[in-house]
């Protein structure tokens, strides 16, 4: 699982990652706790998943100004 901490644009992050499908990597939204969003992923390398999620968010026009954090969690 990965944890994304973002105060704003949470709906857009969820929509983006739920539809993410690149190089066989997928995410699915699990739950929201305050500013934290949790996503399951289909790969075992959570560090890689966190990096891909971060890159995908930063690649969006709305994501380029966000201050957020993505970390792997068990």
């Amino acid at each position: 699982m990965i944890e994304i901490s973002s105060a704003v644009q949470q709906d857009k992050i969820i929509a983006l990652l739920n539809s993410y499908q690149e190089a066989g990597v997928e995410f699915s939204f699990k739950e929201k706790k305050g500013i934290n969003l949790y996503f399951e992923t289909n790969i075992d390398d959570l560090e890689k998943a966190a990096k891909l999620a971060k890159k995908a968010i930063k690649g969006q026009t709305w994501g380029s100004i966000l201050y957020f954090r993505v970390i792997p969690v068990q």
């Binding site: 901490s5 973002s6 105060a7 704003v8 644009q9 305050g34 500013i35 934290n36 026009t61 709305w62 380029s64 100004i65 966000l66 201050y67 957020f68 954090r69």
Partner: protein, 469 residues
């Protein structure tokens, strides 16, 4: 808080997104970032010179690094590094600027950089002149000087020459002119490229050649338009170059404005506001932080290289980009290293103490994501006031300490991950008073954070009581 977030997303974020994703502003930010390899290398050279040339005389009478073998050679080598970096920082920037504009429009980036550089340099004076009066020259000396191409009379010498690019036109002084001319020239080039007004070569021609040929017409038009502008400008304003005019009418007033207490506080406040609401403050405010305070910093670094701290104090800017790092953003924006200490001293909350323990290491190097999101500070109502107030107070302390001459202005570019006290010491060209100012600013911030950390204890206790009942 949900209503506030919704309001932000509906009304504020679209504006911030527009600013943060506006092609030219993004290109401007990236242009400044692109110069970092050169400006940091130059800053390292100036800093080493500060440590081996300028710092020791403060403690050892008669020390002169320029006379000590090895030290002397190192100083000289650092001079070469400076020549190729900070001495021509504006020139490096203008290439980066044109490159990034072209990149934003997905046209040949290399040609974009070249067009911006050529167009900006086209308006720079290639000649110099100067003179000495009050002399008493004999005839043979006068004849020799006149024969050499300068002009001499019995009482004065007027020296002039052509074929020289003055460094004062290529360093930080060039930035504002580069921003204007570089933008205009590159945009003309970009628009013509996008309209496909280009020379087309057969597919059999190698890509590098066909790309360069495709840029010929747009680049030529851009350079001619800018050159015609310079020509017309010189007819209306014959006494100064466009660069000198921009410096006088735009750059100096703007940089002067940035030195006011209100402007400094406003920037500090806005950065905090952005962070608090989960927006990357320095990213959105990069056009101001880098193009105003960043340019002021490069000016100070160059002044330091030329005349040490004394020249910076007499002619430099008091508050520059690195001043925020030195006196306010210890541990990251918000001065969160102090919050970590306040938690470790006063917090009784297990969750706070766990996050603080995990955040100490990164915090020493001014990385504050663990505390910002772990506590969290972002969108945490109880943290709102200290997160905004503490940096305002610490910036004020650093500002007035510098303005009143208690500490030298920041004159070195130090990477932001340098630990707090060392950062301010190095940033001020090894002024031993700077860490003391940082300490005072930290203590003031500490005093602001502590009541809120204690209040958070009480909030936690209340929650526990509620649970128990």
């Amino acid at each position: 808080m949900n209503a506030l977030t919704a309001w932000l997303e509906r009304y504020f974020l679209p504006i911030a997104t527009k600013i943060g994703s506006q092609k030219h502003l993004v290109a401007l930010r990236d242009a400044f970032i692109g110069t970092i390899p050169a400006t940091m290398a130059g800053s390292v050279a100036v800093m080493i010179n500060a440590l081996i040339r300028d710092l020791p005389p403060q403690f050892f009478d008669g020390y002169d690094g320029n006379t000590i073998p090895i030290i002397r050679e190192i100083i000289e080598i650092n001079g070469y590094v400076w020549n190729g970096t900070l001495a021509i920082a504006g020139l490096i920037f203008v290439f980066s600027w044109g490159y990034n504009i072209a990149k934003a429009y997905r046209v040949n980036e290399l040609s974009g950089g070249i067009v911006a550089t050529a167009a900006t340099i086209a308006g720079i004076t290639f000649s110099f002149s100067g003179g000495i009066t009050g002399l008493n020259l004999d005839q043979s000396t006068i004849d020799a000087i006149n024969e050499a191409g300068w002009s001499a009379t019995a009482t004065e010498i007027t020296a002039g020459g052509w074929g020289w690019l003055p460094l004062s036109n290529l360093d930080a002084n060039l930035f504002f002119t580069a921003m204007v001319i570089g933008l205009v020239a590159t945009m003309i080039y970009v628009k013509l490229m996008l309209k496909d007004i280009t020379i087309k070569l057969p597919d059999s021609v190698p890509p590098a050649i066909s790309k360069a040929f495709a840029s010929i017409i747009p680049a030529t038009v851009a350079l001619y338009v800018v050159s015609i502008f310079y020509f017309v400008f010189s007819k209306f304003v014959p006494d100064m170059t466009f660069l000198e005019w921009i410096q006088k009418t735009v750059a100096q007033p703007l940089l002067g404005l940035s030195q006011g207490f209100g402007a400094v506080i406003l920037v500090a406040l806005f950065v905090q506001l952005f962070w608090f609401f989960g927006i990357h403050g320095p990213n959105v405010l990069a056009p101001i932080l880098e193009s105003v305070f960043g340019v002021a910093q490069i000016t100070n670094v160059n002044l330091f290289q030329q005349g040490g701290a004394e020249l910076v104090i007499s002619e430099g800017y008091k508050w520059v980009r690195g001043s925020f790092d030195a006196y306010s953003w210890f541990g990251g924006s918000g001065g969160t290293l102090v919050l970590i200490l306040a938690i470790l001293f006063f917090s009784k909350r297990k969750d706070y103490r766990t996050v603080a323990n995990l955040s100490v290491g990164p915090g020493i190097f001014n990385i504050n994501e663990p505390i910002m999101f772990g506590l969290p500070i972002v969108l945490n109502p109880i943290m709102f006031i200290p997160f905004l107030l503490a940096p305002v107070v610490s910036v004020s302390i650093g500002y007035f300490a510098t303005i009143w001459g208690f500490v030298a202005p920041v004159s070195q570019q130090v990477t932001w991950v340098t630990p707090p006290f060392l950062l301010s010491f190095l940033a001020t060209g090894a002024d031993w008073r700077a860490p003391i100012v940082t300490l005072v600013a930290m203590l003031a911030s500490f005093a602001i954070w502590v009541p809120f950390v204690i209040a958070a204890n009480k909030m936690d206790a209340t929650l526990e009581e509620n649970k128990a009942s």
